[in-house]
Symmetry: C2
Subunit: 401 residues, 2 copies
Amino acid sequence: MSTADHEVRTARAYLSRVAEPPAPALATLVTHVGPVLAAHLVRSGEVPPEVGKETDARRLVHQPEHDLAAAAAAGARLVVPEDDEWPAWPLAAFDLATARGLVAPLALWVRGRQPLSELVERAVAVVGARAATAYGETMAAEIGHGLAGRGITVVSGAAYGIDGAAHRGALAAEGTTLAALACGIDLSYPAGHTRLLDQIAATGAVISEYPPGSVAARHRFLVRNRLIAGLTEGTVVVEAGVRSGSRNTAATARALGRVVMAVPGPVTSAMSVGCHALIRDEAALLVGRVEEVVESVGRLGLDLADEPEAARRHTDDLDPETLRVHEALPQRGGRSAEEVAFESGVPLNRVRALLPTLELSGHAERCDEGWRCPRRPRAPSTRPSSDAVLRPTRAPPHPPG
Amino acid sequence: MSTADHEVRTARAYLSRVAEPPAPALATLVTHVGPVLAAHLVRSGEVPPEVGKETDARRLVHQPEHDLAAAAAAGARLVVPEDDEWPAWPLAAFDLATARGLVAPLALWVRGRQPLSELVERAVAVVGARAATAYGETMAAEIGHGLAGRGITVVSGAAYGIDGAAHRGALAAEGTTLAALACGIDLSYPAGHTRLLDQIAATGAVISEYPPGSVAARHRFLVRNRLIAGLTEGTVVVEAGVRSGSRNTAATARALGRVVMAVPGPVTSAMSVGCHALIRDEAALLVGRVEEVVESVGRLGLDLADEPEAARRHTDDLDPETLRVHEALPQRGGRSAEEVAFESGVPLNRVRALLPTLELSGHAERCDEGWRCPRRPRAPSTRPSSDAVLRPTRAPPHPPG
């Protein structure tokens, strides 16, 4: 695996420190002249005004070696686009979205042993409200577990609530998970998730585009969210209030051409309002099972979810006319073919032809009074029907009077 | 209001008795030769073979006067297409859907005082599982109540569970509701809903296309469902299992060009699986509030639902650059403009211009050490934010260490 040389890495470490992301003008400059010359120009102040606006406040802070050492002390490294492990393929979507203010990171601080590009080769974001309900956390953990168990990296933001549950679900499946932070790689935010972040880094990765020591701030959460959306094939919003950072992640995912999914919940739950709005107003895909998530982001139909299993009734194979004849059979006593024809509205000659067929398939039996419905249906279904309209009675119901 | 003459009504009463609906061939014959001649031909057996198949079994049962009297004894009448109160406009959709086996009724037995056409002038179907959950029944009652309170007739099937809750919700709003039965108009199905059906008929209507004395049967529920779909502008499925009569109603509604809506629920609930499948796989509209139902069936955008109200943050009006400056202000102590510029990444000259503006709007204040964030935000929101990502802190959070 080839890696960038020290000069390039140092230049990008410096740029990571001086510009608050996203810095579109600086990104353009780096694309045009390369990171080493860009760093030199920024430091000397010889840049176009737009780049100056993004870099003037901190351009004299030249401490790349110090930052790289601080990262190393925290077990992290700086991954740059010149490295083989740079996730170039997923981040390429940003090139098409620059007009919408979506800019790829200049570099990523990474804690974790595996090459970053391999980690996100197949990855899905699972995000949601911090003030999640028990339902939401259960769903997040289940989806995180199911994705990770299928070899898909679960990407989230390490926040309390949905994010944490998704990471934990993935860890419980001994799968891979990745947390993107809105603070420096050497800090733990939220503090209560310090141990969780250590666990994530031990098998997956914790990443950040902020230099060591940067504190979490509101605008950084929104900026960070674009990484979660950008590094994944799709984003699942598990729970979200009316106005939620997760909806921002979802909007970014859509802008980057990624699949946006949302888990429904009770409409009486404030924490599902955001998910329902995504489905209703923004055409997010409704997902309720991990198979549906996998299908939604699946390639070339290789991962089609099975239809939920429906209970089969023993009359399922009957055509409508035969079904009407069957339904005209009494459970007690018996009816003549003429009575069955009258009751069902099916012509007598058809009834006379159908009754023996129904007898053969176990749907009708002869008795002293004529024909009736057998006491035991041929093939009872193996699981209870979830159909509600017709469960209690399988024969024609008899109203009073 | 003009009504059909007795001969026409008697003919249709006879046809209602002899053919099990839907009877497409008979319907075509009636369209071509009129009900009186059609009845005569059916009775004498002088009909094309396809009509014969639909009518041979019962054609000799000629008891229209008896059936009309039985209906009258139950407080019902036979409404025919030749009556002014025939709901011709909604049922016209069947003319375009005959190829799919969807056939308009030949006549409708109606219990209730109001003209049928007026009752369904603006109507929405609310249907769902019989084995509904408490959540489902609450939602059905709420939607039924909300629709009826807005002058919209709530149409359903009078079954236990969702149907009953929807009817009751409408009655509680002193609104109008209509029940379509799968048995004769003189019978109550289910028996436990006898009183409910009386209440529905007292202010709205109970209808059936089956002649008096007909018992409920499985295929009749499916046939009846097309009336529920056809008489309404849209169908709301509140709860449905994997395989449910409600999904059949929804499919019919779609085939008739009507709006199909579904209420989401916990994905862990078997009674929401059908609703989620409708939304996910059949593009049903997700609805969670009655306003959304009204909007979905609304005419010409007159009924647009308000966006759910979101809490406003006191920093909502700040542009991104100003927000960054604001977030760089400490809550304790203070920072110089230079420190704020460094922290925020915003150029110093911009910071110097923005700080006084922030001071004016109450977002910043001067102190001995420079600038800080005021202790009390300017305008606390009047309701708690349901946003979960950022609620606990409004200033930049400070991680440990």
